[in-house]
């Protein structure tokens, strides 16, 4: 897409906004509409837009396949790890009450970390799926 000047300029302007919005949706999910699933998809969409406009090679440079593949597993591990942590602290699996001094803060922390895990996995899977499809030779 070397010749599409308008697309390139608009993409450059919008991608930071998309990524910032993704982060907002991720960490504001407790209070408004949003959460890990939506944030992951939006964050991934930002990278996919970059790949569509500036080419797959540039996307690979920003998000190398090794990093995205690691992040796919990392998100699930964070989620499952919160469960293990709550077990080690004396609660049931995925019982966030014990994670902090009082149950209220524990729940808040637990939800935040778990949503982060969801977001990481979803975003990494979306980017990986796009890269594998787009990188396939005809």
């Amino acid at each position: 897409m070397k010749h599409h000047l308008i697309l390139r300029v608009i993409a450059k302007l919008t991608i930071p906004g998309i990524l910032l919005f993704g982060l907002y949706v991720q960490f504001h999910g407790d209070y408004g509409p949003g959460g890990g699933f939506q944030a992951g998809v939006i964050f991934g969409a930002g990278f996919i837009l970059y790949g569509l406009v500036f080419g797959l090679q540039n996307l690979r440079r920003v998000a190398p396949a090794s990093v995205t593949t690691t992040f796919i597993a990392l998100g699930v591990l964070i989620f499952a790890g919160v469960g293990i942590a709550s077990q080690l602290l004396g609660g049931n699996y995925l019982d966030y009450d014990v994670l902090a001094a009082d149950p209220h803060a524990g729940q808040h922390l637990g939800i935040l970390v778990v949503e982060l895990g969801v977001g990481i996995t979803v975003a990494a899977v979306m980017i990986t799926i796009f890269m594998t499809f787009a990188g396939r030779e005809r």
Binding site: P33, V122, T132, F133
Partner: protein, 117 residues
């Protein structure tokens, strides 16, 4: 309740059948996957219709709001949508591999090639 009492459900059934038809009557694999997506979205709509409460509001607790819609179907469908796109991607990956192996994505041509060898 009047006609509107079940209108949402009827549209859900119509959409479901459109997806089902695309799935069983069409031989093109991509069309089948789009049909599967339509079918899937109709089930989403069914669940969300179940969750609606007349006069209710979105289930985000705020002062001054009396009734909320049921949050449970929202949770179930929210995760189902993202899982749906992941499995769709898996299906599309299979289509790409089939196209590479057979050179076609039409079901009858694939079956023909299989019976020839």
């Amino acid at each position: 309740m009047e006609v509107h009492g079940h209108f949402n459900y009827w549209i859900v059934v119509v959409l479901m059948m459109i997806g089902f038809y695309a799935l069983i009557a069409r031989g093109n694999l991509i069309k089948k996957i789009v049909g599967l997506n339509i079918f899937q979205a109709s089930v989403f709509l069914l669940f969300i219709s179940f969750g609606k409460v007349s006069g209710g509001s979105a289930p985000i607790i705020a002062e001054g709001i009396q009734a909320y819609s049921n949050p449970l179907p929202h949770v179930l469908i929210l995760t189902a949508i993202v899982v749906g796109v992941a499995t769709t991607a898996l299906g599309l990956a299979l289509v790409v591999r089939i196209n590479e192996a057979y050179g076609t994505i039409e079901e009858n041509e694939i079956a023909q090639m299989d019976s020839e060898t």
